[in-house]
């Protein structure tokens, strides 16, 4: 479903991109900031969710602070024509939190990327093995890129500050 995004939506997106206000009537509070009624805010939010501009509304967690100390980007070289069958299999695995198909690059043969979190590196590696068995990828070329440091983690800000 396509939605025509209006100026109002950009103001709304700008007003909530850093988070919902922690007050009993958050949608009324947002409306006050941008000159919309509570009902208009709720209606536009529902529209933005229905057409997929907002994937979901709620909590976005920091894995590390929740005890998931290890995370790896696990990359796989699978035949292109099989990617659309293997991707959903990976995405359905309990410990995978993101799964994308991306282009190969020079000296970078991998086309499927998934993120796996665990309490430590051994747990992540065990999940990778289990995932490979589950999706029939025991013999596929793969690489596990553990994160060493996180420099920045925030939701991207899509609307410039002037409008928020």
């Amino acid at each position: 479903m396509e939605l025509n995004i209006e100026d109002n939506d950009y103001r709304l997106i700008g007003a909530i991109q850093r988070g919902l206000p922690l007050v009993p009537r958050p949608y009324a509070e947002i409306g006050t900031r941008i000159g919309m009624s509570e009902n208009e805010v709720m209606g536009r939010l529902e529209g933005l969710m229905a057409c997929g501009v907002i994937k979901r509304l709620g909590i976005i967690v920091r894995h590390h602070e929740l005890g998931y100390r290890a995370n790896a980007m696990v990359v796989w070289d699978v035949p292109d024509h099989e990617a659309d069958a293997i991707g959903p299999c990976m995405a359905g695995f309990e410990h995978v939190t993101l799964c994308y198909r991306r282009p190969r690059r020079p000296r970078w043969p991998y086309n499927l990327f998934c993120m796996i979190h665990g309490r430590d590196r051994n747990e992540v590696l065990a999940h990778v093995d289990a995932l490979a068995r589950r999706c029939g990828l025991e013999w596929s070329s793969r690489d596990v890129l553990f994160s060493r440091r996180r420099f920045k983690q925030r939701g991207a800000l899509y609307v410039e500050a002037a409008s928020s």
Binding site: P26, G58, R62, Y158
Partner: protein
């Protein structure tokens, strides 16, 4: 430290938050707590850094923005200075050092789609590193959320 109610809140609200007049009261009722308690706990979890954010998760492409994943091979000696340059771009949403020849991985998200390529070019110029653009071709839907 998180207690059982904190964990129940994190598990429940990863899946969604009501759109109604008093959404905290509605979510609190489902969790068996009060509106005020829920608001206070969310505030604390955000303050403690357990939560990145409480709000919308956007799909940038759907409203005209763009996002990509980029990777670089950064010489070890230059890693800190290159990281500082990359992180200074407001369009860089997150950046991870990873154990691999491609040792720096960052996400660029912009309001104007053409800005993504400009940012990658500027990063390449300012750091002297080759920037590998790895935009998504497909995203596979994740049903389950992280259990805590």
């Amino acid at each position: 430290m998180m207690d059982d109610l904190d964990r129940a809140i994190v598990n429940a609200l990863q899946d969604g938050f009501p759109i109604c007049d008093q959404p905290y009261a509605e979510a609190a009722a489902m969790l068996g707590t009060t509106e005020m308690e829920l608001i206070q706990r969310l505030s604390r979890l955000l303050g403690d850094g357990v939560l990145t954010r409480f709000g919308p998760l956007y799909n940038a492409e759907r409203f005209g923005g763009a996002v990509t994943l980029a990777a670089m091979k950064v010489p070890a000696k230059e890693f800190e200075s290159v990281a500082a340059v990359v992180n200074a771009f407001p369009e860089v949403a997150h950046n991870y050092a990873r154990d691999h020849a491609f040792n720096m991985w960052f996400v660029v998200a912009t309001e104007r789609p053409e800005r993504v390529q400009e940012v990658l070019r500027e990063i390449g110029q300012e750091t002297g590193c080759c920037v590998y653009d790895m935009p998504k071709i497909d995203e596979y839907f994740i049903g389950l959320r992280l259990k805590v």
